[in-house]
């Protein structure tokens, strides 16, 4: 059984902070299909559309019939561990620093035999296991052999914790505590065992009736002045706590409900861009370097960056047109942030909720996501180590239609469908 993670001792401040060496990150274009599925928490393999053969490792043609038609299909992962070994030596810097490391071969019920990292709760071969895909610190898909059934403290496994971003014992910054969603996120992090939750507040004179005072009573929560429209405020907070933050959750947003014609002038659109896009840029410039510098800093290293985007980032929802545009800009910038942070082993998680049940979506019909559901999705994404999350029915449906044909979705949205 995995030993539950104990609260780590304080760091010795005269010792050098270990720097990250990410595991091998090169993948062929075809192999990135597995990464794309793992980025959403799915284990997928190529399945031949002509002969039905399941294939691993990924290739351009079917190993059985040479067909090039190889769509990715989600797998159950059920199989048998047929062989295992423990690495005591590696010339790869990532593994060298984390030895010993257990590897195995799993014969999947669907056919292929795959190489896996082994969870500590998997006994000696032969052994029934469940294979799951995760992203490693290089952001690439790897496979993990899990025990068939849940066991206590599974998430605390040393190998698994390298692939995930569990908030337990970590120090987290939530950029806006003035909204119900921000408050729900702070509460969920406390429930997940975060050691410190710094909660940003801008324009504190507007706090009356916001619910902020309730979360401020939680002993793990500390309110910090933070206004993403103010570069100096972001710089000051990064100077104060940047070197301690393990997870940044950027939930700050401005949301107005206008298209182009419904509002004269730029004030609302500019305010949206200033927080939703430039706010992310300011935050990333100030907090990014500090996180990158601490990404291998022990079991409570800096580990992840979460952006609360919107499903409207994928395609413009005209009644909230300028908001959609600002979220599309934020999505593009988040991809840039991900590319830069990946080199240091920091995961950037983008969350694309459908409409949240808040004041600015008051006039949208249900289903709407509760703030608690958004918070739950964020904590789950951190624990699972995924990159992209589409919580709720509306987001899932939009995603499906967008993947099916973005042009068709554009036309449907324009027609108000």
């Amino acid at each position: 059984m995995t030993m539950p993670l104990l609260k780590p001792r304080r760091k010795n401040p005269v010792l050098r902070t270990r720097q990250m060496n990410v595991p091998p990150g090169a993948r062929s274009r075809v192999a990135l299909g597995m990464t794309a599925a793992a980025a959403e928490g799915r284990f997928a393999l190529q399945v031949c559309a002509d002969c039905g053969a399941v294939q691993y490792p990924p290739r351009e043609a079917c190993h059985a019939c040479l067909s090039p038609r190889l769509p990715w299909r989600e797998q159950s992962g059920l199989g048998t561990l047929v062989a295992e070994t423990v690495l005591h030596h590696s010339n790869d810097l990532f593994f060298r620093e984390r030895l010993p490391w257990r590897l195995g071969l799993v014969h999947l019920e669907s056919g292929p035999t795959v190489m896996v990292h082994l969870h500590g709760d998997v006994g000696a071969a032969p052994q029934p296991v469940r294979v799951g895909a995760r992203l490693d610190r290089a952001g690439q898909a790897i496979l993990i052999g899990f025990p068939r059934d849940e066991v206590p403290h599974m998430a605390d496994d040393k190998m698994l914790r390298e692939m995930t971003h569990d908030p337990k014992f970590r120090k987290v910054l939530v950029t806006d505590g003035m909204t119900r969603t921000g408050q729900a996120i702070a509460r969920a992090l406390v429930d997940a065992g975060a050691e410190i939750v710094w909660v940003g507040i801008a324009e504190p004179w507007k706090r009356h009736g916001s619910g902020l005072d309730e979360i401020a009573k939680l002993p793990q929560v500390t309110l910090m002045p933070l206004d993403l429209t103010d570069s100096r405020s972001v710089t000051e907070l990064a100077g104060e706590i940047g070197g301690k933050v393990d997870i940044v959750i950027n939930n700050a947003e401005i949301h107005r409900t206008f298209g182009i014609a419904a509002r004269r002038g730029l004030d609302a659109a500019r305010a949206e861009m200033d927080v939703n896009y430039f706010g992310l840029l300011r935050l990333a410039q100030e907090f990014g370097p500090a996180l990158k510098g601490r990404s291998a800093d022990g079991v409570v290293s800096a580990t992840a960056w979460v952006n609360l985007l919107s499903i409207f980032a994928l395609a413009n929802f005209a009644p909230h047109g300028t908001y959609s545009a600002s979220k599309a800009a934020a999505l593009s910038l988040a991809q840039c942030l991900r590319a830069e942070m990946r080199q240091a082993g920091i995961r950037v998680i983008n969350v694309f909720p459908g409409p949240i049940d808040d004041e600015w979506n008051q006039n949208l019909p249900p289903p709407k996501l509760t703030p608690a559901a958004v918070a739950g999705a964020i904590v789950k994404a951190l624990r699972d180590g995924v990159e992209d999350v589409y919580p709720g029915d509306v987001a899932q449906e939009w995603l499906e239609r967008w993947r099916d044909d973005p042009k068709v979705l554009e036309r449907e949205l324009a027609a108000g469908v």
Binding site: P204, W205, K206, H208, G209, T229, D230, S231, D267
Partner: protein, 261 residues
């Protein structure tokens, strides 16, 4: 003494400190709070500053910034065109205001004890009459400044002073505003709080009476002033030229007071 001599004497007195200059201006900083309207309305920008370069790759030998703000950010001037009641008056915007109005005497009515007791305190006609009984009649063309020591609230939350019913800051009553315009022909009204009107001014009749009547009569406003406690009740002279913004409704500005001795 002719006017040339007068000016030379004034300059000499300023140089030697015989006439003191008191700065009535809050520092423009991102930390200084901005007036808050209901969120669905348009908002005046807070002061923000972005570095252009600081002796670095973006400009190796020099330091400078870009800043952004609204016409009504920080210590600022309100022109008559700011309010709908003054929209059609001549010379009603900051670029067309007669410049001689930008240097004028000031009367300072001390309400700091009342404001300490009641943040919603409204300056009354009786307060003005009591002031005049002690210090003489308010001269036409004067600024009337309401000293509340509100500027000493350095914490932005205390300065804004919101609760569930909105903002609570002192200002003038509708009757006092009309009295100052109709009976005393003042140049304008100045306040230490974030507006010339009280925080609860929307509930007065008419709403925001200081804006409505002052600007409707072509008079001006000054807000977010400080150091009013360093001014004498009468006898100081304000220098307060707003930026010359085309059709500007107001402008952040430096407000200086000349004080004899």
């Amino acid at each position: 003494m002719d006017n040339v001599q007068l000016l030379a004497t004034l300059a000499g007195a300023i140089r030697t400190g015989g006439i003191r200059i008191v700065d009535l201006t809050q520092t423009l900083s991102p930390d200084f709070p901005q007036i808050a309207l209901p969120p669905e309305m348009g908002q005046c920008w807070a002061f923000r500053v972005e570095e252009i370069s600081q002796y670095d790759a973006r400009g190796p030998g020099w330091y400078w910034n870009n800043f952004s703000c609204g016409e009504h950010t920080g210590t600022h001037f309100d022109a008559p065109i700011h309010w709908i009641s003054g929209k059609d008056l001549p010379h009603n915007s900051v670029d067309t205001i007669p410049v001689q109005n930008l240097v004028a005497p000031a009367c300072v009515i001390d309400c700091h004890e009342q404001a300490a007791e009641n943040p919603d305190y409204l300056l009354s006609v009786a307060d003005i009459e009591a002031f005049e009984a002690a210090h003489g009649r308010i001269a036409a063309g004067s600024w009337v400044l309401m000293r509340t020591d509100w500027s000493k609230r350095k914490d932005p939350e205390a300065y804004q002073n919101f609760d569930e019913t909105g903002q609570h800051t002192p200002g003038p009553s509708a009757e006092a505003v009309r009295f100052l315009i109709e009976q005393r022909d003042v140049l304008g009204f100045g306040s230490e709080a974030i507006g010339t009107d009280a925080g609860q001014g929307y509930h007065l009749r008419p709403p925001y009476p200081c804006h409505y009547y002052m600007h409707g009569a072509g008079r001006y406003g000054l807000q977010c002033l400080m150091n009013l406690d360093l001014l004498p009740p009468t006898g100081s002279v304000l220098i307060c030229p707003p930026l010359k913004i085309q059709k500007g409704s107001g402008s952040p500005l430096r407000v200086l007071a000349l004080v004899g001795a």
